[in-house]
Amino acid sequence: MSGTASAFLDLLEAEGYDFFTGVPCSLFKGVTRLLDGEPRYAYLSAVREDAAVGAASGAWFGGAKPVVFMQNSGLGTSSNALVSLNLIYDIPVLLVVSWRGYQGKDAPEHLIMGDVMEQWFQMIGVPYQILDPERMEEQVREVTATAEATGKPVALLVHKGILQ
């Protein structure tokens, strides 16, 4: 529902996020449509999720507050970027990650990551919240405060149906 997608982007902007990159997922296609369609977002459509994390990190050096959108399959591709760049240099980025494979109900390629995604974040030490449409504003504020206090990346996990 693009109303929520638009409200979510407004919340990110209100929290100061001003650099948007990522790789699309059907679970947040409403967001990507808005990012792609509106020049002021200057959305960088990245070739891979780790490249998006790298570009977001470079933008952070330039003073930006970056967001990276990705499907959870992209966590595999961006693991090394997160553990050997962001988590050791203290480069905060907000990751908005779709939850494909939730509770085993999805195409086969999503099932394993869907099953282990929370453990994966816990294992590498990236704090996360599961996005709740009723509490989005509070959640964006909380993960942003965590990122600012720690200098580490943080994540919002997005279920099907919320940002479509």
Binding site: F19, T21, A42, L44, A46, V47, R48, D50, A51, A52, V53, G54, A55, A56, S57, G58, A59, W60, F61, G62, G63, A64, P66, N80, A81, V83, S84, L85, I88, Y89, D90, I91, G151
Partner: protein
């Protein structure tokens, strides 16, 4: 030409207000050894991503000159970002690739850059300029002109395999290095120190 000779020539051509990102491995260690400064960031991990970081920084700071000092192994690992850089037409991004044809930091195992000319890949992607040099005089000449015209530009420097024997390790803690570089990149008057 040995790579460290090229690194020294490149270091001498960089200005204090250039924002310089060195890729991981021996290249950053040699860059650090040739001359440190707050305008330099050295990667120690996340192989391949120096170019992506340079792109994000160049887009965010369009008035600043951003220089990525990359290696052939790094470029090959993240070749898709050449397309991202070209598509974004990052005019302030200069991509210098030290191409020795091997993974020099892990024991000189061959890369495939001898079969795939990376400056031609960059050109085909849509870099504004892309060229190759392989000796010191040509490198100095190319550097004298490199920053005078808009990018994105790739200057590929073909060098011999081999690392500087007495190369130092970057002795700045990663978070300190990141803060220092962010300070240099966001300082409105970079020459004020």
């Amino acid at each position: 030409m040995k790579r460290y000779e090229a690194v020294e020539i490149i270091s001498a051509a960089l200005a204090p207000d250039h924002l310089v990102i060195g890729c991981n491995g021996m290249i950053s260690r040699e860059l650090f050894t040739a001359g440190d400064g707050p305008n330099k960031f050295y990667m120690i991990g996340s192989m391949g991503l120096a170019s992506s970081m340079g792109l994000g920084l160049a887009l965010r700071q369009p008035e600043r000159t951003v220089v990525v000092i990359d290696g052939d192994g790094n470029v090959l690992m993240n070749m898709g970002t050449l397309a991202n850089i070209a598509a974004a037409q990052a005019r302030n991004l200069y991509h210098i690739v030290l191409d020795n044809g091997v993974h020099g930091s892990t024991g000189n195992q061959k890369t495939i850059s001898s079969d795939v000319p990376l400056e031609q890949v960059a050109w085909a992607c849509g870099y504004a300029r892309a060229s190759r040099v392989d000796e010191p005089h040509a490198l100095r000449e190319a550097l004298a002109e490199l920053f005078c015209e808009p990018g994105p530009a790739m200057l590929l420097v073909r060098v011999e395999p081999g690392n500087l024997e007495s190369v130092g390790r970057v002795d700045i803690e990663p978070p300190d290095l990141a803060r220092r570089f962010r300070g240099a990149a966001t300082n409105a008057d970079p020459l004020a120190g």
